[in-house]
Symmetry: C2
Subunit: 352 residues, 2 copies
């Protein structure tokens, strides 16, 4: 049977929405639910305009079922042992009756197409467990775009009743800030190396940490203890006054802890989770838990607006026509930078 002309006018969105229903994400179980989650996230990651409309409708339908998970950010440089730790932690949590989703923001994957973090086989047992869902990093787009897709994927996982969502990232670029800004608690993993913590301070990552975990503590217990003292001291100094610009814990309620673990030997996971539970309880009692999420949502909205405004500006034909020569004039000192900015802004408004 050939396709009728009328059918080609049938809106794509109706068809696609049927194929990825919010109900399937929320109510299905097992393999059926996994397929619905995977389809949903693929839809969210699509750059096609009609897909984006469907994706927004899907998100809105899912939203009442979201927000009930604990969102845990985990960051650390390559080699710190994130995968090993998340595997051990994830299996421990499943043993406690939780359902665990692991999402990833890997800035390197947007550059190379490859991925430091995306390989599911890094977490052999967790990745095949029926109560775990592991999704590698979106592999294209700016960091802001990747972070947006990951935030949305987090909502899908929450709607599918995953009650612990782990967002991991590697210590590269601004990805730690992105993860800290979408999670209820931000954990920084460190090696017991002298100076490791100074890099984290300098990059502004230490300041984001609600909890610092020194991994591989069993290899050199003395170094680990020195690192623990050093980082504790740094955190105390950094915390003297809260930084209102960051979506932080309130120093009056929680002072970031430093603990030692050995993920490879499975040591310290219970202590870690107890610290997380303690933090969560204090944040919830104080109202910071809800306040941090609200602040994150608004900041996220404005971040995406900013990104959208810049993108529209850079894609505007008049701007594209003028930008090279005005940039050159600014670099050669023939035009003041502010004058060039005004000219370019006018070019966008007086559109061709």
């Amino acid at each position: 049977m050939t396709t009728m002309p009328m059918q080609t006018h049938q809106p794509q969105r109706n068809w696609a929405l049927t194929s990825v229903s919010a109900d399937a994400v929320v109510q299905a179980t097992g393999a059926q639910q996994r397929r619905a989650i995977a389809k949903s996230i693929t839809l969210l990651e699509s750059t096609r305009a009609d897909h984006r409309v469907q994706a927004d409708e899907l998100l809105t339908a899912l939203l009442p079922h979201t927000g009930k998970s604990f969102r845990l950010g985990i960051s650390g440089v390559p080699g710190v042992g994130k995968s090993t730790f998340i595997e051990v932690l994830g299996l421990y949590l499943i043993g406690q009756g939780h359902r665990v989703a692991v999402l990833t923001i890997d800035p390197s994957s947007t550059v190379s197409g490859g991925s430091i973090l995306g390989d599911k086989t890094r977490m052999e047992k967790l990745s095949v467990h029926e109560h775990a869902y592991i999704r590698p990093s979106p592999s294209s787009g700016t960091l802001g775009g990747v972070a947006e897709k990951t935030r949305e994927a987090m909502l899908v996982c929450e709607a599918a009743s995953y009650d612990v969502v782990i967002v991991e990232t590697v210590g590269v670029g601004q990805s730690e800030t992105a993860v800290a800004n979408m999670t209820d608690m931000f954990v920084l993993m460190q090696l017991p190396n002298a100076g490791d913590d100074l890099q984290a301070i300098k990059k502004g990552v230490m300041e984001l940490a609600d909890l610092v975990v020194i991994n591989k503590a069993d290899i050199d217990p003395h170094a680990a203890t020195r690192a623990q003292a050093q980082i504790t001291s740094s955190l105390r100094l950094l915390g003297l006054h809260g930084n209102p610009e960051h979506a932080h814990h309130n120093e009056a309620i929680w002072h970031p802890k430093v603990i030692q673990i050995s993920a490879l030997k499975g040591q310290g996971v219970e202590t870690f989770w107890a610290s997380v539970q303690h933090f969560k309880a204090l944040q919830t009692q104080s109202g910071n838990f809800a306040a941090r999420r609200q602040q994150q949502s608004l900041a996220w909205m404005w971040e995406r607006i900013d990104a959208g405004l810049k993108q529209a500006f850079r894609q505007h034909p008049q701007v594209q026509a003028l930008l090279p020569q005005l940039t050159q004039a600014v670099l050669e000192g023939r035009m003041a930078a502010s004058t060039a900015a005004r000219n370019l802004l006018s070019a966008q408004i007086n559109r061709a």
Copy 2:
């Protein structure tokens, strides 16, 4: 004689350009030049659209005469002794044959209308010297707007042959970053108090410093020496790797120094200026001097574009109509932040 109707149609811009000519700024001397500078800066600070057109023409006419000064940023908390130091330094430089302009970015003046820094009488001798020009902070607008006016005022001063332009700011908010991003060298003034440097590290200001000056060293020499050792150590640690996102010195060429002075007693000013000259020579030889200025110009252009895009967005009637309800929906968890962002961006494009 009455004004002819035709004359009322004469473009305002021609009249105003005659009244503030680039030539008067560049070629006049003494009181005549001072008046031209003051008129130019007033024109640059005007928010009227027709004034802005004139201001851009004036800037473009002045531009070939700009860029030949050394741009020196000086920051420090209230009470550190900035005015006393700049007075002593300015008079020293004039004694060496320089012409010195002092501009100010005072974030408090945009809030209170008053000013921590704007009072010319703080620098009694310098402010009346014929080879000095002192201009208080623009007293309205956002920090970005104030910074833009100050950058433009700097160009006017350069065109008027001031060969040392000092831009001072108080250690509040993001103004230090703004000053560091418009100067060839950024100097941080500190008191010999324990912990003063930690606040600067935490705020990310220490990282911006090309030179740290410990003032009031004579009051407690031991404390000053301790502070010098502490800050030197911090700078070494912070400088282990250059941060490519900041318009910095290159650590391979210049490692930030820490010196002790007593501005009140006039001690250390020659040492200070020798350090500045050394820095300038190294920066020039390496090409960093020119590269830093080019990078600052481009960053400035994009900063003003971003500010303009955001302003136009927030002022758009459709956005203003939708923003409260969408913000509320995001806060209450009824709409995903990214969906709200897309709706608002669409509202601006599909203008009423």
